[in-house]
Symmetry: C2
Subunit: 130 residues, 2 copies
Amino acid sequence: MSRIMVDLRSRKPIFEQIVDSVRDLVVRGLLKPDEHLPSVRVLAAELAINPNTIQKAYGELERQGVIYSLAGRGNFVASDISSVKDAHRAELMNALKKSALEAAEYGIAEDEMINGIKDVLREHKGGNIK
Amino acid sequence: MSRIMVDLRSRKPIFEQIVDSVRDLVVRGLLKPDEHLPSVRVLAAELAINPNTIQKAYGELERQGVIYSLAGRGNFVASDISSVKDAHRAELMNALKKSALEAAEYGIAEDEMINGIKDVLREHKGGNIK
DNA sequence: ATAACTGTACTAATACAAATAGTACACCAC
DNA sequence: GTGGTGTACTATTTGTATTAGTACAGTTAT
């Protein structure tokens, strides 16, 4: 069973959802380096979408250095994912900062932001609400 | 001269850019309550896009309660924009929290987030970069 | 009343990207 | 060789945004 999920109703293109999903699993360590990914055809069958869409996603993932492919063997998670992890960490911090800047431009105070974040993190740590 | 801008190269639909742009101007107070918006045809000419696209955007803005329209008169900023402002404020805080949650799930520490935010806000306050 | 604006409501055509369908070929493991 | 794999194509379908064009009713100013 693959943990890759797609939402057909989403506005985000399917191939992009797959790219994000796989990169997320890799970055979170749920997919280990050199781990064998489901083949284009198998994943297409599981997700009930076209193989070409999977191929497009895998191609993009390879371009990003998240996975590599061996002719006739299959697709595998990159051996060294440190750069991918670093990039992801930077992306997350960047998004957070951008969000804070927008809030600041609208006049929301720094304290309010920080308190809001502390609150939501406390909830997350505790109840594991989701 | 209208302050409404669109980027034809963006992936975001033009009508959606207009919706966001106008709501943003209203929320920031650059467009006052009951202020007269440029007519569908005039704005279309200024932005060099089709009047139907403007109409679609204005229709959505009216649906959201950001503007109202008078037949034969034109479109106007809503008289009471407090609810729009409140909603926008909530959206910004929500986005910030969501961003923080994602970062936390990836293992970024609360302190690092807060320090990053403080840094970027300090830059913004001071140099007014960008 | 008339002209020149306004919003509104349609239909049709166009453009573009995503996704599907189908085929073909080369590589690898058994 | 058989079966599974990646890869590379072309053609088609689909969905949505956008454009194009027209029509009509209300408002404003003259």
